[in-house]
């Protein structure tokens, strides 16, 4: 049953040291506010799952929260490389991290398998690619009907999933629209689900019947955090802050600049700053 909570309580009650956790969002609706709360609470030894670890995971890795990252594309979208993640992989700063690397197709299929309660995902992939040689979690199965050899990867079953959405109603049902990514699958694959939303409305009357909704009984906690996806965006509310993504390339280039930035913009503030950050975005 969805509980309406503060972000601090929702993170404290649903994310624990050593957890496997997905903060999902495919460019759109990235749960930055929730990730920052996890950083403030100093969570440790997390296994972070995400198709596209970008700025948020760069921050979490740079702050030493992660022991392992399971991913398929680690870049600052349209800008370049993730400098904090690289520093952890190449130099072990602030701690060494293990990486488990997949393709997008594998990750998407693994979430779907998790949501479907299956132990693994089966798909046509990885043919000729180098990843199966360096990731022992990529195996193959033979189709019992046609004999075709197909790729198999373990399902994602995170302990917790954090997503950001447009709105919840008073009962706790959740609406996600626009580029919906893998959030529905990540939420349904996880044991515990926390959703931050732009707003809470009375009910969902008048919505198109096929809009993507997570029923309240699939969600553990709902937190209203306006602007909570910034510098990612929320379709219908505010656009992507592309300039912030470009700036991150400079902030993250240097350990001291990064640490000072995190202190000022994450550790020393609360979730209420997000509304201000999106106020002037056209």
């Amino acid at each position: 049953m969805a509980k309406f909570q503060s972000l601090a309580d929702a993170v404290a009650e649903n994310l624990f040291d050593g957890d496997t956790v997905a903060f999902e969002g495919f460019t759109h609706l990235i749960p930055h506010a929730a990730g920052h709360e996890a950083i403030r609470q100093g969570k440790r030894d997390l296994t972070l799952i995400r198709m596209t670890p970008d700025i948020l995971y760069d921050q979490m890795i740079g702050m030493g929260l992660a022991k392992k990252v399971i991913f398929s594309y680690a870049g600052n979208p349209g800008v370049g490389l993730l400098r904090r993640m690289r520093d952890a992989i190449e130099n072990g700063w602030p701690r060494p991290i293990e990486t488990v690397e997949h393709s997008h197709a594998a990750m998407a299929n693994a979430y779907e398998a998790g949501a479907a309660g299956l132990p693994c995902a089966i798909f046509r992939g990885y043919k000729g690619a180098g990843l199966p040689a360096v990731n022992p979690a990529i195996k193959s199965v033979t189709c019992p009907f046609t004999g075709e050899e197909l790729a198999a990867v373990p399902a994602h079953r995170p302990d917790a999933a954090f997503i950001h959405a447009q709105k919840a109603n008073e009962r706790g049902d959740v609406l996600v629209e626009g580029i919906i990514g893998v959030q529905k699958e990540a939420a349904l694959a996880a044991k515990r689900v926390v959703v931050t939303v732009e707003e809470i409305v009375g009910d969902f009357k008048g919505l198109h019947p096929n809009l993507c909704i997570l029923p309240h009984w699939t969600v553990n906690a709902i937190v209203k955090v306006p602007g909570g996806a910034h510098p990612s965006y929320t379709h219908g509310y505010y656009p992507r802050d592309n300039a912030a993504y470009l700036e991150w390339d400079k902030i993250s280039a240097d350990r001291e600049t990064f640490s000072a930035w995190m202190k000022q913009h994450v550790l020393g503030v609360g979730p209420d700053v997000f509304a201000e950050r999106v106020r002037n975005l056209a």
Partner: protein, 259 residues
């Protein structure tokens, strides 16, 4: 030649020309995205552009900074989830052209965007493959675009992020891959096509003013040239104007509006 143009502009326009009006194109970010949208704004208005964020049939006014910018969704015919994108649309065989960039490329169209140096202890950790490993094998054919440089076009890539023609000849078929793989390489200096038998990329057309020597100096393997070597027609006024307008709109849009 009516107007001066840069090698990068020539590359983007040459790549745009290779796309047809009835193509369904899976678009990588960067140079492929520019080329696909120039095609849509010139000779291929009905082309279906797909970005891996789930947007199908998108028609952005500016080039997206990421594959999931809001405008892609707003202008799309439909937006599907990422698992559906990879399962029904890509794996389902509904995409005619996959358009990829590369950090490292070899003569058989194998691509590396994963690591420079050994995988376990990389000299440079690159972003990785994203959708590319399956784009490379599920699309009916693959176009590749990159700027020529000895460290980009290499004898041996450090990691097989996505499979092209492997060691050449029938290597794809031997792995059970039924799609054509890389059929065109568009660089800032030339157009390359695979030799029908060996599958090694061969220069088939030099862009205006480019010499064989320049090709050789910017390529890490010894390049082969087609016997009937053509010259790429220079950009037309329409092509160049369309590309520059698009880039100007994009520059303004991404400069940012607030804090």
């Amino acid at each position: 030649m009516s107007q001066a143009f840069t090698p990068t502009e020539m590359m983007t326009i040459a790549a745009a020309r290779a796309l047809k009006n009835d193509d369904v194109c899976f678009v990588g970010i960067g140079a492929p995205s520019a080329a696909c949208n120039v095609a849509r704004l010139t000779h291929a208005p009905d082309i279906t552009l797909i970005y891996e964020s789930g947007t199908i049939g998108t028609a952005p006014d500016v080039l997206p900074l990421s594959i999931g910018d809001g405008e892609l969704c707003e202008t799309a015919v439909t937006t599907v989830s990422v698992p559906e994108m990879f399962r029904y649309w890509l794996q389902g065989g509904r995409v005619s052209i996959g358009f990829l960039g590369a950090a490292q490329l070899d003569r058989f169209g194998n691509i590396n965007t994963t690591v420079i140096g050994p995988y376990a202890k990389p000299k440079v950790r690159l972003p990785g493959g994203g959708g590319a490993p399956e784009i490379a094998t599920s699309c009916k054919e693959i176009f590749i675009t990159l700027k020529q440089a000895p460290r980009a076009m290499v004898e041996k890539i450090d990691f097989y992020t996505s499979f092209g023609h492997g060691d050449g000849y029938d290597h794809r078929r031997r792995l059970g891959i039924t799609t054509a793989g890389p059929t065109l390489l568009i660089t800032d200096l030339a157009l390359w096509k695979p030799d029908p038998e060996t599958k090694e990329f061969v220069v088939v057309s030099l862009h205006p003013g480019v010499t064989r020597r320049e090709i050789e100096e910017t390529c890490g393997w010894k390049p082969r040239f087609a016997e009937a070597l053509a010259e790429t027609p220079p950009p037309t006024e329409l092509e160049l104007g369309t590309l520059r307008d698009l880039q100007e709109r994009t520059r303004k849009a991404h400069a940012g509006k607030g804090k």
